[in-house]
Structures are given as structure tokens and as C-alpha cells.
């Protein structure tokens, strides 16, 4: 029977169809028509957009709409813990009681330790602007601390690799323009799994004749579709790119006029400091063939070689150009050296370099996988360098591409008037060091933590240590959630929040497209759920800060649009958005990042040479191996890729998802398995000296020998014991901290694996 069919008349009865948005961090941000009957979702269908071809939805969105909203584990009313934390005993309380108590305790903490002792943290579970910015807003309102999510998200090195070079943390062509590219080189990205809503553009490109190459240690779904698959050792992408650059250099494939004009390649470097040689006025100096002159005064500086610079005191400095300095590093990356570092055939490096440099437009598409290692910022710096040396940055349908779209512009440029109402600011602490900060209570005491839109119990590192070492120092731990997650299990209060379909009104900007959409309420809130904004508004009022929290949902959305820093959003009015459901953000088309060749770096050019990291020894691009994987006790690299069946931890509990992906499997190459006496399908133990977990093994030729693959998103309870996130560690990285903060190196994890001892193996 068709869902919603009336058994007597045979017709499907629908009360109304509401256009709204599904928006977890898959970044698809799909417009959805919600079919509603008697206040319940009957089904959803892809909604249309102002332009054709953007209708889409996926199995996750469907499963979430149909199975998460009324899931038996859905939290329907506020819960307060009874007994010890994590004991599983809860009592139902009213919102009045919950919020009254929470406000009181937050106030007491503020009185005793200062306002900043109350903290908030959010992640990426909901792209709705109002929802996702509310924690930051409340922290600012109350002078509390926001734990940033930048580093903890685990893909910050994409931005850190970009920023010093380009002056921008992200860039991406419009994916709908993929068919204009002739050569698409995909590094560590798996669009078939993680950009599947845009994958059709890649297929369009292939049908138009583009060649697609995927670089990924494992044979991903995208690799299965590509023309060529290159499989380097995990964490060695920078070496591979350096190898490509070396070949391009050898074979005169570098676009030298471009490099001269648009990068700091010609700048002379002071060998004593490793910094750019500057004149008295602070201007960078170049060699014009005859003399050392200011860069701005030289139309055609020399790119290669060294200049003998006489100083006033008579010393003569042997100054390489920045290009030369970088060259002395990449020269080491001969094909045979790269073959050894990356465990790849040497000919592959050569072919990649020639194909990339020799095709135009050559679209470099970079994923977050390769940067999930301690030195991962070097990886994305390498991608930028490669694209720049090929003259591809600022070129249509080429460039170096990570992410861009309405969401990045909308949320990352959030109006201060909204996020810091009344001009009040709280504090920021790096969320990536949450564990350390809370357990040591440094740099200052933090006594409460409130998280929202964050599957902390599954997605954060070492949650077991958080429970042991950090949680005892918190007087209050509040979790806003829809489901009893691993984090909610340990909370003092769990507050029920609405799903996308129950949210009254919110603005949702496209993760990988250029539309702004309106989230409109399809069904009434389940139980006593409230939206994030309303929850914090309640808190603000109780703490005497209600002045800026009195707008209703509609007024708030209007305020956000009218006050947005980006004129493209100010140009959108709520009425049009309500009528159409989606509005295209007006940016020039085709969208060519850096098309104006303006870079917001100190020199105004692409800074391939980064003098600010000279002390750290990273002025020039280099490759550094992952921290782990060399210890003979733990020689295998453990990688936890994203996949189509779940966006992080939001979907792994849904029955339809589990029908297709019943359990987490540890994938390993048959040779590695045979070496350890592991047969296909047996339970195994994976460990290092930080933790262990138990999981079923699956032998898979698609996994490069030397690594293990476990799918992310499964909860602790889905493993027989432990969780793979227990096995990682976070070491501060000075360069990353200097730029933003340390990135959580999710996959810089060395482990060993073995069959479970027989007596432990029984279920």
C-alpha cells in the first residue's frame, strides 16, 4: 500500500505540502517537500529550486524524516539525571523546572568563578542559521566561553593550508561547472560518498570527456568510477604533490610568468633568518637581473636562482629567491623517492604531473581526508602550491577547490549584530583542547558545559577520557539533543530540541550550492521539544539578558538577513524567500575564486613561501610524515572515512540505514590479515597504548596494505567494546596554532590488530 493511502478510498490524503530543508553536515542542504497529514510526516520528496536540476534527496534524509522524528529513543521532554552521571536513570521535569535550575546554577558559577566559567560548544548537526549560531550568541550574551569547533571538526587544515597562501580559508568553483573541466584531479575526496548530491555533475563532466583521477589510499566509491586511481600511503599526499612539482619543474611545465606575477616566488630570502629580504621601507626585494630592487618597482623579476646582496656593513648575502628556496626542498622529491615515501610506482608521479600540467582547465578537487594527520596543513598548502605553479588559481573551472557555497558565506560571515548582541563578547577557547582545558581547568576554570548539535559521544576524540578526566570538573553538563546519544547519557540535563521538520522558521544556506532556503515548519514539535533559539532565549531572559532575545523566529530571520555583512544576503528579503522557498545568492557567474587575482595576504600575492613559519622550519613547503605508523608495535594507520550511509553519527541508529549497513566493519587488506591470522568475518581487537576496541573484520582488496579502515558514525554501543575514537591523540601543532588552532588529526593513529582470543570471542 502506498504510504498514507486511505484503505477505503485508496487515495493518498495529504493535509499540506510544506517546502523545507534537510541539512546535516553532508552539506547537500536539500530542499524538501514534506507531505503532512494529521500533523505527521507522510513522506518527503525533492523540492524544486529556482533553477532546474537541483532537486535531490538521499537515503539519509529520507530515513531521518521517516524514522528519526518518531524514533523510540527520541527525547520528548526535559530530562534530569537521577543518581550518578552515566547511570542511565532519568526523571522527567518541566521546562520551567529545568531551565530554572540551569539558570540558577549558571549564575552561581558565574558569581563564583566569573561569567567565562560557563561554556558552550556546538558542531555541525544543523545548518539552520538561527539554530547553529544560538550557542555562540548565548555565550556572548552571558560573557561565557565558546569552545570553538574549528579544530575539533577535523578539517581545519584545509583552511590552515589555504589561509597563509591565499588570504582565504576556503575556495571552490561552483560544482555545477564541473563539466567545463577537462581534467579533474581529486585528492583525498570521495564525492560519491560525501558529495553524492553533486556527483551527477562529475558524471556530466565525464560524459563530456573530462578525465577523472582519484588519489586515495583506499579504493573508494569515487575511485571505482574514476578513469585512474592512485593509492599513496595515508598521510603522504604532500610528498606526492612535491613529486609532481619536481617533475613539472624538470620538464618545464611550471607557468613561470604566472608565478612571477601572482606569487611571492620572486621575493629574495634572507638566508640568515629565512624571512623575506626587505628594504628599509619594509618592501620585499627582488632581483631584476641586474640589481636588487623593490618588488613593486619591478615588472619582470627573476624567478630562479640566487642574488648576491651586499649589505651596508659589507656582508654579502647569498639570497635565493623564494622559488629557489622552495625548489631546494622539492628537488629531493624525485619520482623514485616519492615512490618510496608514498608506496606508489614512480611512473605514476610522472604521469600525474604531466597530465595535470598539460590539461586545461585542470580542476584540483581536495578533500579533508589527507589533512587529518598531525602535519596535515602542509597537505593543503601543497595543493595550493601545485595549483599556483600550474597557473590554475583564478582560472575558470580550474583552481584549487575545497568548499564554497552559500553556507560558508552565510555562517562564516555571520553579522556581529546577531552573534554578539549589544556588542557583548564572551571568550573563546579552542575546542580541540577541550579535554585538556577542562581536566586541568586551565587557562581558567570552566565549570559548566552546554553542547548542542554535537554528537560528542561519538565524533570527538577520547570521549572515554572526557568522562574520566573532564566531566568530574564540571558542576553542570547540559546536552540539547533529539536522541539519547553517548554524550546525553552523561549529562545532568538533556533538553529536547526540534528536528528540521518541527523548526518554526530558519534560514538555511546551501553547503555546496548557492541557494539560500527557508526552513518552514512542517509538523508540530514532538513532545515538548523546542528550537535551539527558543531554548537559549528562555535562558537569556532568566539570566536578566533577555533584551536581545525577544525577537520571535520570524523577526530573528529578518534581522539576520538585513544585518548580514555580505550584501548578497542583505539583498534577499524574507517575503521572496518565503514565496519561493529558495533564492539564488547573487554572485558573479561563472564563479571563479580569485578571478580578480586579488589575495588578502600581506604581499597581496599568493604566498607560496611563508616566512612567518621560518622559525618553525616550514617557510618552504615540505612533507612531514604522520606522527604515527612508524612504531613497530602499532604499524597500521587507522582511518575512519565518511560514507554515504550516515552523516557523522546522525543516521547510524535508523533502521533503514542499518538494513543497508548493518554493522561497522573493519576493512583490511587480506595480506595484512593473513599475517595476523585473521580470517574474513571474525571479531578482532584493535589497539594501541591509548585504547582498544572490538569489531568484525572484513577482508577487502580495496584497502592499501598497511592501513585499516573503519566507517565513522557508528556509536560506542555499535561496537562490541570500546570505540575507535578512543585510540587517537591530539598534539599541539605550533604552525596550526599560529594560524587558527590545532586541527584534530583524526587519522594520525597507529594501531595493531589481532583476532579476539577465543574465550573473548563468544558474543
Amino acid at each position: 500500500m502506498i504510504r498514507g493511502t486511505d484503505p477505503v478510498t485508496g487515495t493518498v490524503a495529504v493535509d499540506r505540502i510544506v517546502r523545507t530543508v534537510c541539512s546535516p553536515n553532508c552539506s547537500g542542504t536539500c530542499g524538501v517537500n514534506a507531505f503532512v497529514k494529521d500533523g505527521r510526516l507522510l513522506k518527503i520528496e525533492p523540492a524544486s529550486f529556482p533553477e532546474p536540476g537541483w532537486e535531490r534527496i538521499c537515503l539519509k534524509g529520507i530515513a531521518m524524516a521517516m524514522q528519526r522524528i518518531e524514533h523510540p529513543d527520541r527525547i520528548r521532554y526535559p530530562l534530569r539525571r537521577v543518581g550518578p552521571r552515566g547511570g542511565g536513570q532519568w526523571e522527567r521535569v518541566s521546562w520551567e523546572e529545568a531551565m530554572g535550575d540551569i539558570a540558577q546554577r549558571l549564575q552561581a558559577t558565574a558569581d563564583k568563578y566569573g561569567a567565562r566559567a560557563n561554556s558552550w560548544m556546538t558542531m555541525s548537526g544543523n545548518y539552520g542559521f538561527k539554530a547553529t549560531t544560538s550557542p555562540h550568541r548565548i555565550a556572548n550574551t552571558l560573557g561565557g566561553t565558546i569552545f570553538t569547533h574549528d579544530g575539533m571538526m577535523g578539517d581545519l587544515n584545509c583552511a590552515i593550508g589555504f589561509l597563509p597562501a591565499l588570504g582565504a580559508g576556503f575556495a571552490c568553483n561552483d560544482l555545477a561547472d564541473l563539466p567545463h573541466a577537462r581534467y579533474i584531479l581529486i585528492f583525498g575526496r570521495n564525492p560519491a560518498d560525501t558529495d553524492h548530491s553533486e556527483m551527477r555533475f562529475l558524471f556530466d563532466a565525464m560524459e563530456a570527456g573530462a578525465k577523472v583521477v582519484v588519489v586515495d589510499p583506499r579504493f573508494s566509491r569515487t575511485a571505482a568510477k574514476a578513469d585512474e586511481w592512485v593509492s599513496p600511503r595515508p598521510g603522504t599526499d604532500a610528498a606526492l604533490v612535491l613529486g609532481m612539482i619536481q617533475v613539472m619543474d624538470e620538464e618545464c611545465l611550471i607557468d613561470e610568468p604566472y608565478v612571477i606575477r601572482h606569487t611571492n616566488g620572486p621575493f629574495l630570502i634572507d638566508p640568515r633568518s629565512g624571512k623575506v629580504l626587505r628594504g628599509e621601507d619594509g618592501e620585499p626585494q627582488v632581483w631584476d637581473g641586474a640589481a636588487v630592487v623593490a618588488a613593486s618597482a619591478c615588472a619582470e623579476p627573476v624567478l630562479r636562482g640566487r642574488a648576491q646582496v651586499a649589505l651596508a656593513d659589507g656582508t654579502v648575502l647569498d639570497c635565493p629567491t623564494a622559488f629557489e628556496a622552495m625548489r631546494s626542498e622539492w628537488r629531493r622529491y624525485t619520482p623514485s623517492h616519492v615512490a618510496e615515501v608514498c608506496a606508489l610506482p614512480a611512473e605514476t608521479v610522472i604521469r600525474l604531473a604531466r597530465d595535470y600540467a598539460g590539461n586545461s582547465p585542470a580542476w584540483l578537487w581536495c578533500g579533508a581526508g589527507p589533512q587529518r594527520y598531525h602535519h596535515g596543513h602542509l597537505v593543503h598548502r601543497a595543493y595550493v602550491t601545485l595549483a599556483a605553479l600550474a597557473g590554475n588559481i583564478g582560472k575558470p573551472y580550474a583552481g584549487v577547490n575545497t568548499l564554497d557555497g552559500a553556507h560558508m558565506r552565510f555562517v562564516f560571515n555571520a553579522p556581529e549584530a546577531w552573534t554578539a548582541p549589544g556588542g557583548r563578547h564572551g571568550e573563546h577557547l579552542p575546542g580541540v583542547h577541550l579535554l585538556e582545558i577542562l581536566s586541568k581547568q586551565e587557562p581558567y576554570p570552566v565549570k559548566s558545559l552546554w553542547i548542542a548539535s554535537y554528537g560528542m559521544g561519538t565524533q570527538s576524540p577520547s570521549f572515554d577520557r572526557f568522562v574520566e578526566e573532564a566531566l568530574p570538573n564540571l558542576d553542570l553538563f547540559v546536552v540539547t539533543e533529539q536522541m539519547m546519544t553517548g554524550a546525553a547519557d552523561h549529562a545532568d540535563y538533556v533538553l529536547p530540541c526540534v528536528s528540521y521538520y518541527e523548526e518554526p522558521l530558519d534560514l538555511v544556506a546551501g553547503g555546496e550550492h548557492w541557494f539560500l532556503q527557508l526552513r518552514q515548519q512542517a509538523i508540530p514539535p514532538v513532545g515538548e521539544s523546542r528550537n535551539d533559539y527558543a531554548i537559549f532565549a528562555d535562558l537569556a531572559h532568566r539570566m536578566g539578558q533577555g533584551e536581545h532575545w525577544s525577537m520571535d523566529d520570524e523577526a530573528a530571520c529578518r534581522f539576520i538577513l538585513e544585518n548580514h555583512g555580505d550584501p548578497a544576503f542583505r539583498a534577499i528579503d524574507l517575503e521572496t524567500l518565503r514565496r519561493q522557498g529558495a533564492v539564488r545568492v547573487q554572485i558573479p557567474r561563472p564563479h571563479v575564486p580569485f578571478g580578480d587575482m586579488v589575495f588578502r595576504t600581506p604581499s597581496g600575492k599568493i604566498e607560496l613561501y611563508q616566512e612567518q613559519f621560518a622559525e618553525a622550519g616550514e617557510a618552504v613547503l615540505m612533507h612531514k610524515d604522520p606522527l604515527e605508523g612508524r612504531d613497530p608495535r602499532y604499524p597500521l594507520m587507522l582511518v575512519s572515512p565518511k560514507h554515504v550511509h550516515s552523516t557523522h553519527s546522525q543516521h547510524t541508529m535508523l533502521p533503514w540505514i542499518r538494513e543497508h549497513r548493518p554493522e561497522p566493519l573493519l576493512e583490511m587488506h587480506p595480506r595484512d590479515a593473513a599475517d595476523r591470522g585473521i580470517a574474513d568475518g571474525v571479531m578482532v581487537e584493535v589497539w594501541n597504548d591509548r585504547g582498544r576496541f572490538e569489531v568484525r573484520a572484513s577482508l577487502n582488496e580495496g584497502v592499501k596494505p598497511g592501513m585499516l579502515v573503519v566507517p565513522q558514525g557508528f556509536w560506542r554501543k555499535h561496537f562490541r567494546r570500546g570505540h575507535f575514537a578512543d585510540l587517537g591523540r591530539i598534539e599541539r601543532n605550533a604552525v596550526q596554532e599560529a594560524v587558527i588552532e590545532t586541527n584534530y588529526p583524526v587519522w594520525d593513529v597507529g594501531v595493531e590488530v589481532g583476532p579476539l582470543a577465543l574465550e573473548d570471542a563468544a558474543p
Binding site: I62, A63, F203, G702
Partner: protein
């Protein structure tokens, strides 16, 4: 005469299971039953394993549901005419009111297209979303496929998308030797 057929582009199919789940939603298919399954070459879709040996590997996915065969074996064996191929559009329809749960269709079908209710034994299978066709909409699998891998239409109309794809691209069908005349045409991966 109209003859409804599917064309599925295996170059584009990424095995995401959205078609299978969309079908479950649209047609209220009970838990652990499927009208549409996405297979892989090793017949172990949940294990996601390619064929070959590292690094010479291949992997593709193959959605399959009722093939609405020209000479459907299920129609031939059904004792109660619960299964019948419609003259007007070639869709093999299942009238659940007539189904007695004997499973002869299951034994006859080369494509494992039928599933059965755990309590009543009544059959269930892809209906070509004829309820959606009646409203001018496409079958749900086609509507939700993110890569636009699924096409449907009248294979007897030379101008239809399905006819053009079959004419222009390399296609194959499953189990041609069965003689059933299946109407899912696969574009080779």
C-alpha cells in the same frame, strides 16, 4: 502500444541505496523487505568489496527490482491471476487481494523481485509506482536518485528517453537466457 521499461545507468550508479530507501518510503515497504535491491558483483552489498586484487580493482553496483518482463514467469505461474501484465502499459501488476501466498512466483522469478509478508505470506513487488505515473510523476527510485542514473518510459516509443539510451549506449539485461524478456536495460558500467 505502450511498454514501460527502465534504463539504469551503471556508470552513474554509486550504490548509495537512495533508490531502495525512497521506494520503501513511497510504497510503505515493511522492515527488512525490499522491492528494490542494490546488488554488487560479489552479491555482498553490505560488505562494499571490489573485485580484483590490489591495485587492479573494479566495483560497480546494480539496482534491481521487478523487471516487468515481456513474458513474465510470475504471471505464468500465478494460480489466482494476482500477478498480471497490463495490456495498456506492460506493467506487471500485483493484486494483493488475490494473492494466496503460495510463492510460486518467487520460485519462477529469475530476479528475486518478490518479497513476502511475514504473517500473511502475501507477495509484494515493484509496481513501477503506477500510482505516481497516474499523476504524471516518475517512479520514486528515479525521482530520488542523486546521480540521475535511473530512467523510465515507453520503450515502444522511439523518441522516449529510454529508447534513445538503449539505441545510443551499450546495454545489457540480466538473465536473457531465461526468455522472460526483462525490461530493465542496464547501461554498462
Amino acid at each position: 502500444m505502450t511498454r514501460m521499461a527502465f534504463v539504469i545507468d551503471l556508470k552513474r550508479c554509486i550504490g548509495c541505496d537512495t533508490c531502495a530507501v525512497g521506494c520503501k518510503m513511497e510504497n510503505d515497504v515493511p522492515a527488512s523487505r525490499h522491492r528494490l535491491k542494490v546488488l554488487d558483483p560479489l552479491n555482498e552489498p553490505a560488505l562494499e568489496r571490489p573485485t580484483g586484487a590490489y591495485p587492479e580493482l573494479k566495483q560497480h553496483w546494480l539496482p534491481t527490482m521487478c523487471h516487468h518482463c515481456d513474458d513474465a514467469p510470475c504471471v505464468a505461474v500465478c494460480p489466482t491471476r494476482a500477478l498480471w501484465k497490463r495490456d495498456e502499459d506492460g506493467i506487471v501488476v500485483l493484486d494483493k487481494d488475490r494473492c494466496i501466498g503460495c510463492r510460486r512466483c518467487e520460485e519462477a522469478c529469475p530476479y528475486d523481485a518478490l518479497s513476502f509478508d511475514a504473517v500473511t505470506g502475501i507477495a509484494d513487488k515493484c509496481s513501477f509506482c503506477d500510482h505516481r505515473l497516474a499523476e504524471g510523476k516518475e517512479p520514486m527510485c528515479q525521482a530520488v536518485c542523486p546521480t540521475r542514473a535511473i530512467h523510465s518510459g515507453d520503450i515502444d516509443d522511439p523518441e522516449s528517453a529510454v529508447s534513445r539510451l538503449v539505441a545510443e549506449r551499450d546495454t545489457y539485461r540480466l538473465g536473457e537466457s531465461s526468455g522472460a524478456g526483462p525490461q530493465i536495460h542496464y547501461l554498462k558500467p
